[in-house]
């Protein structure tokens, strides 16, 4: 079949028109007393409302020996209040056409709901009831504890979960980030109703509380309806978050997680990174995007497109109040695991040795700038950005200044943050796959430390 000649000049890409400006959505922040605040981003034509209620807490506050406490406590919030049972809460949320979603991160617990605009008031009442008046019924505690234990067990068969487990254990040792966010089989089995109740009172019921509202609502009405409820929720400011414990030092370390039957190898390569509030975080994110944050990143073009070692690979600085991990993750063909690690290390060294060209950096910054509006198309997307400000105590105009902050990053900045925040000389390398095939490939990097999950539930 012949194709007709083009009616346009196809030999060069079209010249773009002039860009239309984009501004991050306006929002107002209202102090409600009792160290509670309402952040409201109004979008009058949305027809929908999204709420995020952000409570102070999160797995970083789990006491030693009680990992998983924050996560289990949060999961119990919607399992019973003074006036409603677990069933009644679920039915009420679903009758609103919405959902009640409770998530625990390292630094916060977030209760989220999204409903049609006409139901916002009722949805908000339910959200505040669940956050302010949980009763932790004993039978629901037992049920969810069992469910969590089974979930921990299920993950022992998932290569990516094993890799993440060994990676955080290797990076952070027995400090809080070295323990799993949802706990270990041992720690969860020991959690009792009283632990949950106490954690709730001391931590989740304390200040500050942030309610983020995005969408179609009347701001004055919203302020009135949440003022009393939110202020009643908080009593005092909680103890400050414990200072992050020092990371485990060391040179290059190799961990083999033996899965003799594996048909592929899960790789994690990295080290301790920097806290979200670190002044270098934006520059480090640009660097990570250039290295492994998009399809045209160095790692993807090298390991996927040049070598065909993998289907996907990415790099990321984890955003936590404490120093989160810098992680490179991929699933690679087992017989190329050693070469894949060598290529990864080479890319890290190259970033430290020479600044990227202006063109490569420009491409990366334009990508991050361009996708920014795309990430706030939905109300949930707007809310997520506001949550990031709230959880990490970023300046309120953080997202207004973000484009300029990206623009300001230069090639020499990239080399500087690469030298400060990438450490190929103290990489932790985790490979989940058949030990026999992996050992000879990874021994050249360091003598492997082996974890056999079939014999040991947790890495040493």
């Amino acid at each position: 079949m012949s194709r007709a000649p083009a009616t346009v000049d196809r030999s060069v890409p079209p010249v773009p028109g002039s860009p239309r400006p984009f501004r991050f959505p306006r929002f107002e922040r209202v102090e409600l007393g009792g160290d509670a605040a309402l952040w409201a981003a109004r979008k009058p034509d949305a027809g929908l409302v999204h709420f995020d209620l952000v409570l102070p807490g999160g797995a970083a506050f789990d006491p030693r020996g009680k990992s998983g406490l924050s996560s289990l406590t949060a999961a119990l919030l919607d399992e019973g209040t003074s006036s409603r049972s677990s069933h009644e809460i679920a039915a009420a949320a679903e009758r609103l056409g919405g959902y009640l979603d409770i998530r625990t991160s390292w630094d916060s617990v977030t209760l989220a709901t999204g409903v049609a605009a006409g139901r916002a008031g009722t949805a908000l009442e339910l959200l505040l009831e669940v956050a302010g008046d949980p009763t932790f019924p004993q039978d629901e505690v037992v049920r969810l504890r069992q469910r969590t234990l089974a979930e921990i067990r299920r993950r022992r068969a998932v290569p990516a979960s094993l890799a993440a487990r060994q990676f955080s254990r290797a990076l952070y040792g027995r400090t809080v980030f070295g323990r799993p966010l949802t706990g270990t089989a041992e720690s969860v089995a020991a959690l009792e109703r009283d632990d949950l109740d106490a954690f709730y009172r001391e931590r989740l019921a304390a200040a500050p509380v942030t309610l983020i509202a995005a969408g179609d609502f009347d701001p004055a009405e919203l302020r009135t309806s949440v003022r009393r409820a939110l202020a009643g929720l908080t009593r005092r400011r909680g103890e400050p978050q414990p200072a992050p414990e020092p990371p485990v030092p060391g040179g290059v370390r190799v961990y083999l997680v033996d899965r003799p039957q594996a048909t592929q190898t899960e790789l994690r390569v990295g080290h301790v990174g920097l806290p979200r509030r670190h002044p270098d975080f934006v520059a480090a994110s640009v660097m990570s995007s250039l290295l492994g944050g998009k399809f045209t990143s160095r790692l993807n073009l090298n390991l996927r497109e040049r070598h065909g070692f993998t289907y996907s690979i990415y790099s990321r600085f984890g955003a936590r109040r404490g120093p989160g991990p810098f992680t490179i993750a991929s699933a690679v063909a087992t017989d190329s695991a050693g070469r894949a690690v060598e290529e990864i290390r080479g890319e890290l060294e190259r970033l430290r040795a020479e600044p990227p060209t202006a063109a490569e950096l420009d491409e990366t910054r334009s990508y991050m700038l361009g996708v920014f509006p795309y990430t706030v198309e939905s109300l949930e997307g707007v809310s997520r950005r506001l949550r990031e400000i709230a959880v990490h105590d970023l300046p309120l105009d953080y997202w207004d200044r973000y484009p300029a902050a990206l623009e300001a990053v230069t090639p020499t900045d990239i080399r500087r943050v690469a030298r400060d925040h990438l450490h190929p000389d103290r990489l932790t390398i985790v490979a989940v796959g058949p030990e026999q095939a992996l050992r000879p490939q990874l021994e050249p990097f360091a003598e492997p430390i082996v974890w056999r999950p079939a014999e040991q539930p947790e890495p040493a």
């Binding site: 079949m1 012949s2 194709r3 007709a4 000649p5 083009a6 346009v8 196809r10 030999s11 890409p13 079209p14 773009p16 028109g17 002039s18 860009p19 239309r20 400006p21 949305a46 929908l48 069933h87 679920a90 039915a91 679903e94 009758r95 056409g97 959902y99 999204g114 409903v115 049609a116 069992q146 469910r147 089974a150 067990r153 299920r154 022992r156 068969a157 998932v158 048909t263 592929q264 998009k294 073009l301 996927r304 497109e305 040049r306 065909g308 070692f309 993998t310 289907y311 699933a331 063909a333 420009d362 334009s366 990508y367 991050m368 361009g370 996708v371 509006p373 795309y374 198309e377 939905s378």
Partner: protein, 427 residues
């Protein structure tokens, strides 16, 4: 009780002389535009011994065309701040970008170049690399995942290996290995035609100017031969089909699969609402009984895979440790039997419908999803306006429709049942 706003998307459907259908949906609230191209071809169009060809071919479309260099597709898109991807299913393959709106023409240039000028750039070397990538994709998603083989096996049971829905979209490993460049070229010439595609633009543009640009970029691509919509005949199901897979898993899991009406028929929405009413959310009958009250399962979910010749209704439940998988199967069967005789309470149906409607509107917040929905409605129904009337179609469904669906499509002898159990426990 129903107080949700009815969606009302401004849109136009126009057709080029070469048969390309173009849907234009302007929305100028953000400086973004979504470009979404559906080709009405998927794994069901593959030769039986070449499963995975359509998907492997999708990978080749990101490897450059006559005027676009090997890795330049993503480069062009990402350097202006856009995102791009593609996906392959049984019936269709889609390619899409969301771009800053002043770069709309870039999207048109890229998509038209690979529609009209792909073959000069397709080489054996690129095929070899993508073959490796796809084999790793298969390992990552299927072979090296707990329960990874389950859907492949369930589809084999539900449709039999003589039907294209009985073969995996990603392909069997030996089929991926065997695919040749000539087969890729034939596939392209047969299906990647303007008269077998729908192009949707959604976002910040002037409709006439955007359509004129589409004409400039796509108008010169020649119409191809008419694509026959062969419907591979479904072999009748003459009784329950069962299998057990031993896998490296900790918890046993049961999969039940049934055939439901295909997406072109209205009947599949009944199946869809049935799944939502019975198994979505903590207060649904299946979750409440099996997961909460009796604690037999970790989770239970049901959904409909919306395919064209027939859709697949699936129920999946993971047993709690120590719970015999047979008890889980019996409990599921009990509910499905009841569903075939007892209408759900009005409040249960209302809950499911509201949840459906809210999440439908919730998803339509993004241009990418709106464009995808418009392409789908146009490919299957030639009627993009269905993006707004879809909710009405669900509102017309009653509890009796759900009973009728269960009685007609979810009978025990129509079931395919797959157990995935820990190694050594197949019994």
């Amino acid at each position: 009780m129903i107080d949700l706003p009815r969606p009302n998307h401004p849109l136009e459907l126009r057709t080029l002389d070469n048969g390309l259908r173009v849907v234009l949906h302007p929305d100028r609230s953000l400086p973004l535009v979504a470009v979404n191209l559906w080709y009405h071809v998927g794994s069901k169009n593959e030769p039986a011994e070449r499963s995975g060809l359509a998907h492997l071919f999708e990978h080749m479309l990101f490897q450059g065309s006559q005027h676009v260099g090997t890795n330049d597709h993503f480069r062009y898109v990402q350097q202006v701040g856009g995102v791009a991807n593609g996906s392959t299913s049984f019936d269709r393959t889609n390619y899409y970008e969301t771009l800053p709106s002043h770069c709309l023409e870039l999207g048109l240039w890229l998509e038209s170049d690979r529609m009209g000028f792909l073959l000069p750039a397709m080489t054996a070397e690129k095929l070899e690399t993508q073959r490796e990538v796809v084999m790793n994709e298969r390992r990552q998603r299927v072979d090296n995942q707990p329960y990874g083989r389950a859907f492949e096996r369930l589809h084999e049971l539900v449709y039999g290996d003589s039907h294209p829905y009985g073969r995996p979209i990603i392909g069997y490993m030996d089929h991926i290995e065997a695919a040749t460049l000539e087969e890729m070229e034939t596939f392209f010439r047969s299906y990647y035609l303007p008269n077998n595609a729908v192009l949707t633009l959604a976002g910040d543009f002037d409709v006439d100017a955007a359509f004129a640009a589409v004409e400039r970029y796509f108008g010169g691509i020649e119409r191809g031969p008419r694509v026959e919509r062969g419907r591979a005949p479904l072999e009748p199901i003459d009784g329950e089909r069962r299998d057990v897979l031993e896998d490296h898993v900790e918890l046993a899991r049961v999969y039940m699969g049934y055939r439901a009406p295909g997406v072109v028929a209205d009947g599949w929405r009944t199946a869809d609402l049935f799944a939502a009413a019975w198994a979505h959310g903590k207060s649904s009958p299946l979750y409440r009984d099996l997961a909460h009250d009796r604690q037999l399962v970790q989770d239970v979910v049901a959904w409909v895979l919306p395919t064209e010749i027939a859709a697949t209704f699936v129920v999946v439940a993971t047993a709690r440790p120590g719970v015999d998988i047979e008890r889980v199967e019996a409990a599921l069967a009990e509910h499905l039997d009841r569903a075939a005789t007892e209408p759900l309470a009005g409040v249960e149906l209302e809950r499911a419908r509201l949840r459906f409607e809210t999440s439908y509107l919730d998803r339509l917040q993004t241009l990418e999803h709106r464009a995808e929905t418009l392409s789908r409605m146009t490919t299957y129904h030639d009627e993009p306006e269905r993006i707004d009337s879809e909710i009405d179609r669900y509102r017309g469904l009653t509890a009796d429709h759900l009973v009728e669906f269960a009685a007609g499509s979810l009978r025990p002898e129509q079931r395919s049942l797959l157990r995935v159990v820990p190694r050594g426990e197949a019994g």
